[in-house]
Symmetry: C2
Subunit: 308 residues, 2 copies
Amino acid sequence: MSKVLVFGHQNPDTDAITSAISYAYLQNKLGVEAEAVALGEPNEETAYALNYFKMAAPRVIDSVKPETNQVMLVDHNEAQQSASDIKEVEVLAVVDHHRIANFETANPLYYRAEPVGCTNTIILKLYKEKGIEIPKEIAGLMLSAIISDSLLFKSPTCTEEDVAAAKELAEIAGVDMNAYGLDMLKAGTNLSDKTALQLIDADAKSFPMGGKNLRIGQVNTVDVNDVLSRQAELENEMKNQNEINGFDMFVLVITNILDSDSVCLVVGEPKEKVEEAFNVKLENNQALLKGVVSRKKQVVPPLTNAFN
Amino acid sequence: MSKVLVFGHQNPDTDAITSAISYAYLQNKLGVEAEAVALGEPNEETAYALNYFKMAAPRVIDSVKPETNQVMLVDHNEAQQSASDIKEVEVLAVVDHHRIANFETANPLYYRAEPVGCTNTIILKLYKEKGIEIPKEIAGLMLSAIISDSLLFKSPTCTEEDVAAAKELAEIAGVDMNAYGLDMLKAGTNLSDKTALQLIDADAKSFPMGGKNLRIGQVNTVDVNDVLSRQAELENEMKNQNEINGFDMFVLVITNILDSDSVCLVVGEPKEKVEEAFNVKLENNQALLKGVVSRKKQVVPPLTNAFN
């Protein structure tokens, strides 16, 4: 049997990268020859976490079939968010906290999804169920993912289980989770040296909705106006991406991690569906989304309802 | 919130019925108002188990929307095997041991699948993880499901975990699992008073394969010739069902639970795909499938390969 590859979604965030690392380590301890890889380079937030805990970034791949017939997915299941040739290999296991869609197997598999805020919260349970000890630096990465996905426990996706898991992991990692967490989140908001494409696409995912193809990106910042000062450049690149990739609409959610509000910037049609979804009026293609920080819980569901 | 309905697949077998009971009981203990229901009446094997452990059969339903917006699925996930209006309600949880296909949700959910022989083997883990004690009679039903799905541990779907779970449950239930198991399996092979339709359809499931729509039924017996003595009548009813329901092919797997072989009976086209799948020659529409007892592991995969 060739090596099993373990990876998170395209445009990886901190949970996608670190859950591959933590799950592959667990599999190794259980006797499976598994390697954590990634479908993209770490973003600056993730790089901060990897650097802090002195861990290497996983090798970047985009297809799997040349290397292996067997994979394990973390932090995603939908084929369009996965490796380009995912349908040609066998998925042995999935650990995820998203909805299930566009996912099909020929054989029974291990599938563990729970409606919690972070994949690593589930992986912590798996370590405990199997009685495997978590090394300090892997605990640090798992903690980083929970802080990232929950925006330091402020997101509505954050559950009591996520908070409890973070406390437990911070203990093992030996860090003050609030101080470390704010430093890590801020490291991810250094946007000045990013191109417009990097800004809009870093965290973007595709969502088919009511016959339309939406691209939804999110960028975290401590100053929304700093990002909006580049609005013309961003809109130009969003329009460009819509044309190249056949997206009907690009929605960029610019989230202030300190006050937990977002501004959305919209390029494409039909814009009135966005207004309907959030009960707002777009002016100059933007609108304030009060209290919105979670794409999964506060952006995708209302858009899905409006488009369907 | 209205009551959550918990149920297994259409044409329920012992695992489908009893996993609904054991999972609904667990949910009740966790504070969820859940009711076990079924998408069909218990077969004779299941009736034997229910009667032995003095448990009532779950109420039979075929649609869920009139009663609730929220359901939990056990022992299945594919929409065509579920309630007729499954796509109109929210699936909160799935506990299953089959492949994942034709299953999609709008929201994150709890999904627990493992490649073991029986759903109740997974449910036993869930009881332990939550620290909930299993009542004697529910343990007896869970044991019955493992015996049924594994044909008393002879099926290739049976894992070490299934055997260990069965031993543990037999202890709680206070029965000798081998003696009780054989009695239960035999109770399920009383076929004399069954109509041809009952025989072919009791355990049948639909499987889309390479553009064709296959119906695959299985019947357990201690005397294959006893069933084959009714071949003309069975073929007639299989042809009838193909026409009524638009199946391209009906495959009936007649399994001898004592010697662990099966004979398949095939009505519909293309028959050469069946011959290719099992490397046999059909004579008089039948062929011996040596050592084949598991539809999931030994019938569906080779047919899927041959049809694709």
